[in-house]
Amino acid sequence: MATIPLEGTTWRTRWKARWDGLMAKRWMLPVLLVVGFALSFAIPQFNLVNQYVQLILIYIGINVILTTSLNLVNGYMGEFSVGHAGFMSVGAYISAILTTQLLPKALLPYLFPLEVLAGGLVAALVGLVVALPSFKTRGDYLAIVTLAFLMIVKSVFENIEAVGGPRGIPGIDKLTTLPWTFFWTILAIWVIRNFVYSRFGRGVLSIREDEIASDLMSVNTRQVKLQAFVISSFFAGVAGALFAHVLQFISPRVFDIIKSTDILIMVYLGGIGSIAGSIIGGTIYTVLLEILRPLGMWRMVLMPLLLVILMIYRPRGIMGLREFRWFVPLHDLIGTKLWRRKKEASDAPAS
């Protein structure tokens, strides 16, 4: 075992050293994934934890998907969308209609992934429609456009009798299982992380920093913004589909501005521009909500207060603009070091 210097160090630096050691072991990540996936089967199978905890685990997964995907737009890109609950509702309704009205009951468990995919795709399409006018010009229209969008989808669903109008859709089969939640959560994190560490992702970051300069450095800012927004909407739709099939009942009221605000809080709590932050934010918020449930209405006072305190001491959230090294592709992590080593090696024999 590597020795950690104990003398003359504070507990903080000691923990940091341990943490760094852990993070350096990149093989841990795939191992954790396999273990996690196995557990997601084992837990419901052998009732390793009670039903209530299982339910919370599912909500954590859904919230992590929502947080990561919104972070792409609000954190990495630095825009401000408040419409995430709207895209979520599109995914939820599409999949719920498929379940309750269109697909044969017997096949439902097998078709569920396709339903989720359909929910995501339609949400992505709607995302494209919302994004096209908002990103036509530079400027901060997105908050207003997405707010309008949120209100429009809500009243659309309220006024279509076929989907229950204001009463919504009850009796949706409980198809969202722990393994499926785990699968979609990992997929969302993986795809968004991949996108962030690509030329498009760097484009997204540069738009946050300085959009005009970004355009002048050859980044097709319009295209990149559309991509990011559509990917973000897709996963909001996925989360909505999962949500509908665990709550088993959806109505337009479920997806109001409060829901969007919850997601925003998770993003800013965990930290903007960070995958790790999204996971932490989604998890902590979900758990806190449950722990504080006995407080009833006071919860709604306490949570915002927590957020205010956080914003004072850590204005960018817990992990703001920082990342676990596990999530950074290897070439981004050590590319410059490798280059230096290679250069030293090629310089040495020459002299």
Binding site: R202, L205, A213, V219
Partner: protein
């Protein structure tokens, strides 16, 4: 003719910032635009690079009309620039600043990006390699992983030039590269500009108030005042032009 501007005119509301500006730039030239504050120099760069669209007139790179194109299209055609007020991507690392500017050169598409497939890995590796090689030229390789906002001013200016070159331009527009440098640093900058011009086969337009730099390295000078060209010529002619002396250099100027 590499870059040609004809009768370019631009208004901000009622203010005529550039009026009937003409420029013919041959491959490999180094031309300066000088003039009093607010004469319209930076606006000309903004018009060439598509930040603003000219109210009237035409700007062509080779045979391609630039007016009406977006900035990223113009950059892809081979025009890159630096900014008078440094506009680096502050929170991002030095190497990422350069890698963002490689966007137009990289080929892999959205699906490859989302699943890290196809050309992704090779292109990313090449991107890092190229970025580091470029940073080395600018003596910035040792700070590649720093946030760009933490660099001292002079290094930030160098990084801006490096970032612009990462787009593989034919024409480089430098907006006051010597601002905030002391005379001996300006001397080094002069050598540096000469060198990158040769090394990267560049055609350069330079905006500058440091006369030593302008007179020292430019072949031709274009003097603007209130948006209009008041003189063009070689440095010697400009130094002794009475209108330039009055409007810009001031009487008894030491240049």
């Amino acid at each position: 003719m590499l870059l040609q501007a004809e009768h370019v005119t631009h208004y901000f509301g009622g203010l005529c910032a550039v009026s009937d500006f003409n420029l013919n730039l041959e491959h490999g030239e180094l031309v300066a635009i000088i003039g009093p504050n607010g004469a319209g120099k930076t606006t000309i760069f903004n018009l060439i690079t598509g930040v603003y669209h000219a109210t009237q007139g035409s700007i062509r790179l080779g045979d391609v009309e630039l007016v009406g194109k977006t900035s990223n299209e113009i950059t892809a055609l081979g025009i890159a620039r630096t900014f008078q007020n440094i506009r680096l991507f502050k929170e991002l690392s030095v190497i990422d600043n350069v890698r963002i500017a490689q966007y137009g050169q990289m080929k892999y598409g959205t699906w490859e990006a989302m699943f890290h497939l196809g050309g992704y890995q090779t292109e990313e590796n090449r991107s890092i390699e190229n970025a580091m090689n470029l940073l080395e030229v600018f003596k910035l390789d040792s700070v590649a992983d720093e946030s760009s906002k933490n660099l001292p001013y002079g290094m930030q200016r160098r990084l801006e030039i490096a970032r612009a070159l990462a787009t593989h331009p034919k024409v480089l527009l430098l907006d006051e590269p010597a601002a905030g440098m002391n005379p001996s640093e300006i001397g080094q900058l002069m050598d540096f500009i000469r060198w990158i011009r040769k090394e990267f086969d560049l055609t350069i337009i330079l905006i500058e108030h440091q006369m030593r730099l302008v007179m020292g390295i430019c072949e031709r000078i274009n003097v603007l005042d209130f948006g209009a060209t008041i003189a063009t010529g070689v440095p010697k002619e400009i130094q002794n032009n009475p209108r330039v002396l009055e409007a810009y250099l001031g009487e008894g100027a030491e240049v």
